[in-house]
């Protein structure tokens, strides 16, 4: 690839996935924890192929090149080389380390031939009763491309009739059945199972009476996910999104996974029906779809094979049982998830929904949880006649289907639904509750870095900011008025929106630190983000570094900035932390001559976020909240257990405690801190009693 001042985005992402895989390689971690990390690398790669490789293949086909850096063909070749290496590592880890370790602990993924006759009989019954009725064979010919659904396990069978003529049949394995078929085992406490594709393969004969299945091979195709609605022409975005979802299942193949042992003729047929190029094929020495190993990692029991649970703690800022509104009225509330519970955010919506003083609730939903309590509350509120406005982002990739369903439910309840904004993905995390209090209007706002998703809020590190400051409320109203098309986007008092303001403001903030450094002042930038790719921002950071600004970046995933470059970035330190919780919070610090400017943000420093998405950056002005965020930012740079330092070639080097240096694991420290704070609060309550009083008499 040509020499560039930036690290290639795709390779940088693959290095991040390598860092996740490195966690699975650690033999000091419990085995199911390691299996979970391996599954994550699998699902990460699935998405990477769908989106990034898909996009590059489209670019290649259309003849469009990348600006400056390597062209799509070069990038695709580099990606393949790196992925082959990664896949090799994944399977070596699974086969040589994890499977034996699991067996040692009584978890036995077993081949059918290793089962007893009794166990095989049991499985035969399971197949006949539960699986057989769901299978639909699909005959294919060697010279024909078929509509193969993406990311599904499919069993290819060579079937031979009495005359000896072979034909080929595909058996898509229903997703609803799960990957693991349990087998009764005499060993106490053990868990034995076979993989569903093995069971189907063993009984495939039963689907073809009078014929023989002479060979089988499981395969999995990944489809191009970079298909979007042509929004400008979309009259009914919801309708068109449904079409896209269908199209995405059957779009071009960007990756074809099949076992190494796949017979040649079957491999040829599979390649043909998937219309896959040779460069798209990955031959795997083990079970496909590593992402589905998550099912095993999360199966009930075996808690001793997992890391100690770190349950979310209640925030000491909020009295249990007290109204969330009165808590916010006492001052801004900052929550650090998942160490602190997401419950107050859910309660904000739930309390608002059941509150007679609530006039309106407005919210952006990007990725929601299954059975989301927040959506349930919004539905209740709308049914009660509260004005509920929800922007449901249908373009939240891979969550479109769920978002569509819930949007329709909300609409039926009477909520005003907006399906995003034309041409822009709405990624801001904001919720506004308008209440009447003592004859006046009062607005409560939640601004966050993470989605309104109860499930991910237990796994992702994020920041929530709850406030009833009038200027934040006013900005929130302006924001929703603009989103719903009632008003143009006006200038905000406090919040900084993308794509209109944020990038300019960030460049100004960086330039201001640069200027201060040039004038001999102390200057410092600390940013915790998930991805850094925007070239203008990177150039500004290079310039700042040259001027002497101390730049500390904590970038979880893609980082196109080249650290450690003597000419450009000598004073830039880049770390990445991969631990049990996915690092997701975006926190920014600018020294600003000793009067720090601190922000939380929904946006990464990527061109797509800053220029093509609706995002919000929130300045934090409450001194205590500001101090806490600075402490959080700084703590990451002390981590010498889970942190890696990024190197100029895009790879990373894991940090370790230096001689005499105490070990420090930042996520552990945050959890301990949250637990300690919650305990202290409990202790306080136990020593000073607060009686429950009867509710005040309603006023006449």
């Amino acid at each position: 690839m040509p020499k560039s001042p930036y690290i290639n985005r795709e390779l940088s992402w693959l290095e991040f996935n390598q860092r996740v895989l490195n966690e699975a390689l650690r033999d000091d971690l419990p085995v199911l924890e390691r299996l979970k990390f391996l599954a994550i690398t699998g699902s990460n790669l699935d998405e990477f192929f769908q989106v990034r490789v898909g996009s590059l293949q489209l670019q290649q086909r259309s003849g469009r090149g990348s600006r400056g850096g390597a062209g799509p063909a070069q990038q695709l070749a580099a990606i393949r080389k790196r992925v082959l290496h990664l896949v090799e590592d994944q399977y070596a880890l699974l086969n040589e380390m994890l499977l034996p370790a699991l067996a040692e602990k009584g978890i036995h993924p077993t081949a059918l031939k290793e089962l007893t006759a009794r166990q095989r009989d049991q499985l035969a019954r399971v197949f006949a009763e539960n699986i057989f009725p769901l299978l639909t064979p699909l005959a294919v010919s060697e010279d024909q491309v078929s509509a193969i659904p993406g990311l599904r396990l499919i069993l290819a069978c060579r079937v031979v009739d009495e005359s000896g003529t072979p034909r080929f049949v595909l058996l898509p394995i229903p997703e609803s059945l799960g990957r693991r078929v349990p087998v009764a085992d005499e060993e106490e406490g053990a868990c034995r199972f076979v993989l569903i594709e093995d069971l189907v393969a063993a009984h495939a004969d039963e689907l073809f009476p009078g014929e023989n299945v002479t060979a089988t091979a499981c395969f999995r195709a990944t489809r191009n996910g970079d298909i979007a609605v042509q929004e400008e022409d979309a009259i009914d975005l919801a309708g068109e999104m449904e079409e896209v979802l269908t199209a995405r299942r059957f779009s071009d193949t960007v990756r074809l996974e099949m076992p190494k042992s796949c017979p040649r003729d079957l491999a040829r047929v599979i390649q043909q029906v998937c219309a896959a190029a040779e460069a798209d094929i990955y031959r795997c020495p083990g079970p496909l779809a590593l992402s589905s190993l998550m099912e095993i990692a999360l199966m009930p029991g075996f808690d001793d094979l997992r890391a100690e649970d770190w349950p979310a703690q209640p925030s000491p800022a909020i009295e249990p049982g007290a109204s969330i509104f009165s808590a916010i009225n006492q001052g801004d509330i900052l929550l650090h998830h998942p160490y602190e519970s997401f419950e107050p955010v859910i309660r904000l919506v739930e309390e608002a929904a059941s509150d007679p003083d609530t006039l309106a609730i407005k919210q952006v939903l990007y990725r929601t949880a299954k059975n989301s309590r927040i959506i349930d509350a919004l539905i209740r509120a709308a049914e009660k006649g509260i004005h509920v406005t929800v922007l449901v982002e249908l373009k939240a990739r891979f969550d479109e289907a769920r978002n569509l369903d819930r949007a329709e439910e909300l609409q039926r309840a009477g909520a005003q639904i907006v399906y995003g904004v034309k041409g822009l993905k709405t990624h801001a995390k904001i919720c506004l509750v308008v209440r009447r209090e003592e004859g006046r209007l009062k607005r409560y706002v939640h601004l966050g870095t993470g989605n309104y998703n109860e499930a991910t809020s237990r796994l992702y590190t994020d920041i929530s900011f709850l406030t009833c400051r009038a200027d934040y409320g006013s900005d929130a109203s302006l924001f929703f008025n603009a989103l719903t098309g009632r008003s143009k986007l006006l200038r905000f008092h406090r919040l900084v929106p993308a794509p209109t303001e944020m990038k300019r403001r960030l460049l100004e903030l960086i330039a201001s630190e640069t200027e201060r450094a040039e004038q001999g002042e102390e200057a410092r930038i600390v940013a915790k983000i998930n991805s850094l790719q925007d070239e203008e921002i990177i150039d500004a950071l290079y310039k700042a570094a040259r001027a002497g600004v101390r730049v500390q970046l904590n970038v979880r995933g893609i980082c196109c900035l080249k650290p450690d470059d003597a000419k450009r970035s000598k004073s830039i330190e880049v770390i990445s932390v991969v631990d049990r919780f996915l690092e997701h919070a975006r926190i920014l610090y600018f020294h600003h001559g000793g009067d720090p400017q601190v922000f939380i943000s929904s946006a990464d420093w990527m061109s797509r976020n800053l220029e093509r998405r609706i995002e919000l950056m929130t300045p934090i002005e409450d001194p205590a909240a500001k101090r806490r965020l600075i402490r959080i930012l700084e703590a990451y740079f002390q981590d010498n257990i889970q942190a890696s330092r990024l190197l100029a070639d895009g790879t990373s080097q894991r940090l370790a405690p230096k001689k005499g240096e105490p070990a420090f694991r930042v996520q552990q420290a945050f959890y301990d801190e949250a637990r300690k704070a919650a305990k202290a609060r409990d202790h306080e309550r136990a020593t000073s009693f607060e009686p429950h009083r009867p509710a005040a008499e309603p006023q006449a």
Binding site: L359, A360, G385, H387, T389, Q416, V434, R436, G439, R440, L441, A470, S474, S477, L478, N481, T484, G485, R486, S487, K488, L490, R491, T500
Partner: protein, 528 residues
């Protein structure tokens, strides 16, 4: 226009949520402007500053339609209706009846659209809103209010001779402030949108476009130079929708903007296409269309007076305008004084005896207050009466014969700062009826009034006639009056008069209207 009460015609529309709030605390102003429709909701408590609850604004090309086609097109009408319906959704969310706006006004340039009544009807039918069209007088009042605040913020400016210029969509207004008070007011048919549309089709770009704008504006600029030829202008404050939206991109909030900087901005902006203008100044397309003419006209004015710097208010124009709309109909004391000052300037210009006019005005005020519970007129009517008393004799400049008709003509064709056309019409009629015939249904102007307005004219004219009768000798013989009502009689005690024969004689010819309007017999008493 006063706030409409619930249950009246302007009350909540069927289906509106029952108001959850003490609605007296919320005030709502809606404005159909030249290139946008906006709405402001404020919470007001006591005498404290209003707190802005909501501000919404959406672009709509009204000015472009009016100046290009002479009417509002159907597409723009429907766009504006849709915007207002969206705003009404927000009002519902706040628990406010959708028709319960405190003030709903449309830009004064709407009057130039041949179908303005059809347009207002459509808004009334679709949205249930009665929109009033802003008149020149109120526009001037609004500019005054804006400027007043700015002068209050910057005491140093109050000591200087400051010209405040507002380049609007169709007209430019200039207010000259001397030591904090208005000393001159002028307006010109020169506006940002009017200029933009006039130059359409010329396909000029860059410097050529700037030349065209200057040429288009030159007549008005020459007139402005003439109007202020005798004044050394020390400060220039420039106001305007487009200008104030773009100002943050070239001027630091609240500080001076160098004319040199303004010139650079104008020159560099002239080379941009509309998309680049939109991106550079973060404007909508309609506003971006009018920005270059607005900038160039303001620059030309600054250069006209040889200034090195100008001042642009830091606050957003539209939001300030809506806030002022909520208070401008309740004229502030200082604004009233400015109106009276302007009336006195008019009277002096036509050599009307100032002492006579002011004395009549003082007696009018006594009568007005004494009859308050009978005439039920408001403070604004009191102001119109005061102004009419000051200028009622200006027609003598043409000829003492039929001077009441000359007065009406002069008043109708003059500017009185802070008063709109409707107010000026009433003042003209009051001057017309201060002597000789009282109002008759076939009199021009009077016949065009509504019944309510005719009644106002009759009441006010009757008071003016009585006061003028008491100042028959033009020498302030009646120093002051004391007024008392007893049954069907109004007793007026004349201080300083030993023999009121002259006044009684005058009252015989001028008291008729009063007696017929109020059913009271006037009895004069001497109080030497």
């Amino acid at each position: 226009m006063l706030p409409q009460a619930l249950g009246e015609e302007g009350g909540p529309a069927p289906g509106d949520q029952v108001s959850k709030l003490k609605t007296a605390m919320l005030k709502t102003a809606m404005h159909i402007g030249a290139s946008s429709v906006s709405m402001l909701v404020c919470e007001c408590e006591g005498s404290g500053a209003p707190v802005v609850i909501e501000f919404l604004e959406q672009p709509a090309p009204l000015a472009r339609d009016i100046f290009r086609h002479g009417k509002v097109t159907a597409a723009t009408t429907e766009r504006i209706v849709a915007i207002i319906l969206g705003f009404q959704e927000t009002l519902r969310e706040l628990g406010i009846g959708t028709r319960q706006t405190t003030r709903s006004v449309a830009t004064n340039i709407l009057g130039e659209a041949e179908n303005h009544e059809v347009f207002l009807n459509r808004v009334r039918v679709a949205c249930g809103l009665e929109m009033e069209t802003l008149d020149d007088g109120e526009m001037t009042r609004l500019i005054y209010l804006k400027t007043r605040r700015r002068l209050d913020d910057m005491p140093a400016m109050r000591q200087r001779t400051t010209l405040v210029v507002h380049v609007g969509p169709g007209n430019t207004r200039a207010l000259l402030f001397n030591k904090g008070s208005i000393s001159r007011y002028t307006s010109y048919r020169l506006g940002a949108h009017r200029t933009r549309v006039a130059l359409e089709g010329g396909h000029a770009e860059g410097a050529a476009m700037l030349r065209l704008i200057r040429e288009h504006a030159s007549g008005n600029l020459t007139q402005m130079a003439f109007d202020y030829r005798d004044v050394k202008i020390q400060e220039l404050v420039i106001l305007g929708y487009e200008l104030q939206l773009a100002a943050p991109f070239f001027s630091k909030a609240g500080s001076e903007c160098q004319v040199k900087t303004l010139r650079e901005i104008v020159t560099s902006s002239a080379d941009l296409d509309e998309n680049q203008m939109v991106r550079r100044f973060q404007l909508d397309y309609h506003t971006a269309d009018a920005l270059l003419p607005a900038l160039e006209i303001n620059l030309a004015i600054a250069e006209l007076f040889g200034l090195k710097h100008v001042r642009v208010p830091a606050s957003p124009y539209e939001q300030g305008l809506l806030q002022d709309l909520l208070v401008s109909h309740e004229l502030t004391r200082s604004l009233e004084e400015e109106v009276v000052r302007s009336a006195k300037i008019l009277a002096a210009r036509y050599q009307s005896d100032p002492k006579h006019g002011e004395h009549v005005a003082a007696m009018c005020a006594e009568l007005f207050d004494a009859m308050a519970d009978v005439h039920r007129l408001d403070a604004h009517d009191a102001l119109l009466l005061r102004v009419a008393a000051i200028v009622h004799e200006c027609g003598t400049f043409i000829s003492p014969r039929a001077h009441h008709k000359h007065s009406q003509y002069i008043i109708l064709n003059s500017e009185i700062f802070g008063l709109g056309h409707a107010d000026v019409t009433i003042i003209g009629l009051l001057a017309r009826y201060h002597r000789h015939s009282g109002p008759k249904p076939d009199h021009p102007d009077y016949s065009e009034l509504t019944t309510g307005e005719r009644l106002r004219v009759c009441k006010l004219a009757s008071l003016l006639r009585v006061a003028d009768a008491l100042e028959r000798t033009h020498d302030r013989r009646v120093r002051a009056i004391r007024v008392e009502r007893q049954g069907h009689q109004l007793h007026i005690r004349l201080k300083g008069v030993a023999d009121a024969a002259v006044e009684r004689l005058a009252m015989r010819s001028k008291g008729d209207l009063f007696e017929s309007v109020f059913g009271l017999e006037i009895i004069l008493h001497e109080e030497a």
